[in-house]
């Protein structure tokens, strides 16, 4: 769908395809009633859920477990005014099923702050939205293939 504001709305599958190409995103949650945002590395599960690994005792694990969060990734070329951004919104949960841990331990990238006791967090892909910047006042007439 093309809007008239220089952005093209992306479909769910386009969004998940873009997310699969990058390894760093940002989890958005609430901390002490204030908005909080933290870059993390991640991967996608087969169903589009966002998977990440963190310290079991981390503030992040405590804050997001059971809450609706947003997870964002983007690639933006500020000079060319081109790029894309994707947001997954859904309930986050610490994965407590030991049967899943072996699988997740293989596929989910290591935390940047390794800890002896790590947990996995899954963000359900209840709402997957994204947009591509296509109509900005480009300086060089190029845009990301993104």
């Amino acid at each position: 769908m093309h809007s008239n504001d220089g952005f093209r709305e992306l479909g769910r599958q386009e969004c998940l395809g873009l997310l699969a190409k990058v390894s760093v995103g940002r989890i958005v949650y609430t901390r002490q009633a204030l908005p909080a945002v933290l870059p993390v590395n991640f991967c996608l599960d087969d169903d589009g859920a966002v998977l990440l690994r963190t310290c079991a005792a981390s503030e992040l694990a405590r804050a997001v477990d059971g809450s609706v969060v947003a997870f964002e990734a983007d690639e933006v070329d500020a000079v060319a005014r081109a790029g894309w951004s994707v947001v997954v919104t859904g309930r986050a949960a610490v994965v407590n099923d030991p049967a899943e841990h072996e699988h997740l331990n293989r596929v989910v990238p290591c935390s940047w702050a390794p800890s002896p006791v790590e947990v996995f967090v899954r963000v359900e892909p209840e709402l997957v939205t994204g947009r591509e910047l296509v109509g900005g006042r480009t300086l060089y007439g190029v845009r990301l293939s993104g």
Copy 2:
């Protein structure tokens, strides 16, 4: 300050210095009771406030005016497990003072979705926090100069 989790906490001036080096960040706010996040280009005011330009009729302008938001920027090298992130948390407001508009029109970068009627949004730098990833399991022993 060095923590023992692989991150170094950054001071306010370090954070503002890093923010001044980049042109794209992400504004985090609440939309219909859900967390929302949107990449935008921006600049810093002399006092560290985040300044951005958007369409007067945009959902963003309506949603953030008068609310506490977070504004995040980062540079992360996922392979080297190195980088930094900075978050400015504070009240956002649409600037209504006509006397400020001329100045802001000169210094604030153009919106990616230009509109005939644009407004400026200022995020007060009430809380400025950041961290540098310094102790990850680096693969190449390098880290961003940040």
